[in-house]
Point group: C2
Chain length 228, copies 2
């Protein structure tokens, strides 16, 4: 509960913004991105819809900001998770294959622990980046580029053989595959029903962690093979 009725200072406005973002995050924990409506969001946060739009230019702007912070958090988590084993002793002697497996495994494990991030990634280009102003787009893309560079550095720390260009290609492909596999692994009810009903069609089913891990390893091996 806030100690003010109307946000007049910048700090108070920031509190309002934070409340909106947190409420949106809580909603995404229980519903897909497409079902997060402005009506329900403003109802839950306890503000009128028009007032929510006073703090964010549109529904998409809320979600993009959420995506950006999630991206930063995840990059940190990945960096930590990749660094931990290297802090051991004999790990410097890992083979390329071992490091490929560890990298893909760590990426997938950290992603799997952040369903909201995956859901936002899958919605990014097809939904979130529509209906926003060039201003919001500019801020989001600038932040994305910074995260991107950070991520390149983290990846090269574990798998320097990729090279900078290879790491960039990997990130682009990995983000697209993450979003797509997430979508396919969380299909509409009718699709789930079909999978349950026809064992032959169930082969089309996707499981997020397993399928993503496999495809990322394939991609990494392809990048390393192309290097030769």
């Amino acid at each position: 509960m806030t100690s003010f009725q109307r946000a007049r200072s910048e700090e108070q406005r920031a509190v309002r913004r934070e409340a909106i973002l947190e409420t949106a995050a809580a909603m995404l924990a229980e519903m897909p991105v497409a079902e997060l409506s402005l009506n329900e969001l403003s109802r839950r946060v306890g503000l009128a819809k028009s007032n929510v739009l006073n703090y964010f230019e549109s529904r998409e702007a809320v979600l993009l900001e959420l995506l950006d912070t999630q991206m930063r958090d995840w990059t940190r988590q990945l960096e930590d998770a990749l660094a931990v084993p290297a802090a051991g002793d004999s790990v410097a002697g890992e083979s390329i294959d071992e490091r490929v497996d560890r990298l893909a495994g760590t990426v997938v494990a950290t992603l799997a622990s952040r369903p909201m991030f995956c859901a936002l990634v899958s919605a990014q280009a097809s939904v979130l980046e529509h209906n926003i102003s060039t201003d919001v787009a500019l801020r989001f893309k600038r932040a994305a580029v910074a995260d991107f560079r950070d991520l390149v550095r983290v990846l090269l720390g574990t798998l320097p053989e990729l090279g900078e260009a290879g790491a960039e290609r990997f990130i682009a492909a990995a983000s697209m595959l993450t979003g797509a596999i997430w979508t396919h692994a969380n299909p509409a009810p009718a699709i789930l029903a079909v999978y349950d009903q026809d064992p032959e069609l169930a082969a089309l089913r996707m499981e997020f962690a397993a399928d993503l891990q496999e495809v990322l390893e394939i991609h990494l091996r392809g990048l390393l093979a192309g290097r030769a």
Copy 2:
């Protein structure tokens, strides 16, 4: 123009369905999938919206049927395009690398000639497969499985080294990457404006054919490397 006012026989109903599909296809040539509304579709086809829904269970059902026929057409086109050079003489001596390049190149070239197909693929899991009945889902998925098997056969004709499992993995990854790259290569106006405005951000831009070709080759090489 139809010669009847009301479709009473099955043939006449088929004419109506075909008209709806053709009108939808024409609309997709000039607008993205998300902007194809039932209102505009029914207006253009010259029927009341309720009557369009008499022929198709929903907007998504129209587009899924379009996607299915496009998928079949494209598979044929790919098969023909891959077969032509093999009809020559000394092509049997192509190396693996040459065949990887030719396969990826042909896939990308045929896809690039079918923007509507790519747009529908990119919308498939995230949009089209929602809001449909299990009945429509079942029919669509069955057809997709048939096309899938056909496509495996076509791929193995050019690159048997993939193996059946490898070909299946390639199709799954390729369809996801096609959809995702298509989406990124056709961004919202605000994103385009940002690319035009900031040369550093322009590096994030994607070009459908070039980027898809590169990533598909990487994936194929990764699959073949994993085989060893």
